[in-house]
């Protein structure tokens, strides 16, 4: 595929994105002039050593954070300078997030956690929509193998189960892009393998674009494409298909 074709396919694109943090006296540059395309339907793995800016890039692409400079294009529209309201709307309706620490709400059951993003969709006819969302949430829990755990609070679930609930929650609003930040970082090998398989299956069945920040070599190998970040920059040789990649971190 040519570079021009790749650009046309991009659902998400960062152009010249930089991110700096300042404490008033010194400036810490986390990302420096990053250009990256995420193509519709692909699974893109972002690897690199700790502290190189992987999570920061995911937050910027996921519109959780704003870049110091550069543009973030989602479906062709620049959201780098968009209002907090607009970015929140996109995060809720177009994106799904899975975090290393699961970040489930402890007071809610697994089903309620999955329903949470759906509840945030402002609709007048909540009852009608709620019924549909509930069915979908239950179906997603079934899909991740937790239908029988729907009424359980996170404290009664294992790490792997919590992460599967988090994945179901990320998918409830039928997102265009699924952002996963170290989704297997807190899990043992066997559970990590189950999560790999689940993410792979979801990509095939739902066709959701995935941006996965990971140290996990197996998970990165499963991706369509891998990019590596070093010192806040994308390494030039990266972006090749995973099976041709040589430099991903383990």
């Amino acid at each position: 595929m040519s570079s021009a074709q790749r650009k046309d396919d991009a659902i998400l694109r960062a152009e010249g994105v930089a991110k700096e943090y300042s404490d008033g006296e010194s400036v810490l540059r986390v990302l420096a002039c990053v250009d990256i395309d995420v193509r519709r339907g692909e699974a893109l793995a972002v690897t690199g050593k700790s502290g190189t800016g992987k999570s920061t890039l995911l937050h910027l692409l996921g519109l959780i954070d704003s870049p110091t400079s550069g543009t973030i294009l989602f479906e062709g529209a620049d959201f780098a300078g968009a209002s907090a309201e607009e970015r929140a709307r996109i995060r809720n309706r177009k994106f799904g997030f899975v975090f290393q620490a699961y970040h489930l709400v402890a007071e809610l059951t697994a089903l309620e956690n999955v329903l949470l993003p759906a509840m945030m969709v402002g609709v007048l006819d909540w009852r009608r929509v709620a019924s549909g969302r509930r069915t979908r949430a239950l179906s997603l829990l079934d899909e991740v193998g937790l239908a029988d755990r729907a009424g359980h609070r996170p404290s009664r679930l294992s790490g792997g189960e919590r992460q599967r609930v988090a994945i179901a929650r990320a998918l409830v609003n039928e997102p265009e892009v699924l952002f996963c930040d170290e989704p297997t970082g807190n899990l043992d090998e066997a559970t990590s393998e189950a999560i790999h398989q689940l993410l792979g299956r979801l990509q095939k069945e739902h066709g959701v674009t995935q941006v996965i920040v990971t140290h996990d070599r197996d998970l990165a190998d499963q991706a369509d494409r891998v990019v590596k970040i070093e010192a806040g920059r994308i390494r030039p040789q990266d972006g090749a298909p995973a099976h041709a990649r040589t430099g991903a971190e383990g």
Binding site: A84, A88, H103, A106, E107, R169
Partner: protein, 465 residues
Amino acid sequence: MYRLFIAWRYLWSRLVSYVGVGLLALAVALFIVVMAVMEGMGEHLREGIRRYSAHVEVLAPAGPGISDWRELSETISKVDHVTGVTPYVAGVGTAESPAYRFACGVRGIDLGVERKEQRGLATYLEGKTFETNDGSGLPGALVGNRVEDRMDIVQGELVRLSVQRMDDADQTSRANFVITDGFKTDSLWLDNNMFISLEYAQKLFGTGDRVTGLGVWLDDIGRAHEVKRAIQRTLLDLDEEEWRLFDLLSSEPQSIETLAWRARIGPDRARELMARLQLRGAAREIARKPGHYVETTEPQVKTWAEQQPDTFSAIAHEAAIMRVILVIVIGFVSVLILCILWLMVEQKVRDIGILAALGARAGGVVSIFVLDGLFVGVVGTVIGMGLGTFVAWQVNIVVEIVDSIFRIDILPEEYFYGAVVVPHRILGSDLVLISVVAIACSVLASVPAALSAASADPIESLRHE
């Protein structure tokens, strides 16, 4: 929708929230019970005063008293709603028995008229008399229970009464009386009196044929003010225009120009009318403020409420101060609610980040914690209102328990017009006041915590483990 859901779940997942709700409920209940008892006591006191005080009183100016009281009584009894007029001579004196001396009220009354006209006292005067049958030829006296107790006297014994004369304040009159009977009402003030016949009181106080006041009794106590004005107009014999000016003057001292402007008449006409009012003793010019007038009616006419201004003012002020104190208590509770919600925000930093990542707006995060404040306020207020109303309703059981535990008499019967139970009265306005204050304080207390939550950086929050 999710705001309500999350707020509700957050609130009830923490023990400290229950503490906040409980304390608010206790404060609300305390407010209701205290105000209900205060209102009940106040009303009981007012009712007691109403029962024994004439509804309107015509009082003599300083000096020897009202001379034409028989004609005056006749005139007043023709005023609408007046059912009776009771003349009296009242003052203070010292009663002496062989063993004791006691300062008490001395009231000269016409027993026949009192029995006929006065509702409250009539019950206690039934069958009583000033007539003595011991052959001593001394006048009789009825003694109030408190005087009787303090002086340790019984029926048939002699009492020497000393009073200051009204026709010559430097002189003291003394006379012996035989106790013909005693009386006990549920008014401490009334039981502190000695009743003697009107004629002997006139002799004792040196008022001649005069009386010191006329008690006016009405068919409807609610019309006391209206009847007072009607009596004033009758006594002053004012025409329509003069009465209008007098009426305007009765609210506060005013200048002739103000009066003229308020009466919509020219200043010259106002001066002319004021001169006529002055001639009748209805108004006088204030010496230190020439051109300013004040109402002076002779004799003075006062309603039952105006006769006890200090008591009613004290009751009203006590209730107002108590309301303020209890509202401050609720203020303190809301500071605690603020701390609870702040603590909740601190504990929920990670959740705030995830909610933001999932698409919650800053306003949504603010609403979650404001809703928590609202829930604490509403639930605490509802529980407090239920608890407070129940305790106020059953306050006598509480008093009995306290009495039996601490062996004290919280409510001595004699001090509260014979109240054998704690009177209580819950005002709707108090319920509204406490609900609004408690819920508003609770919501306001949640605002700093909510704003702190909304200002949390989602990135920092997500890093928070």
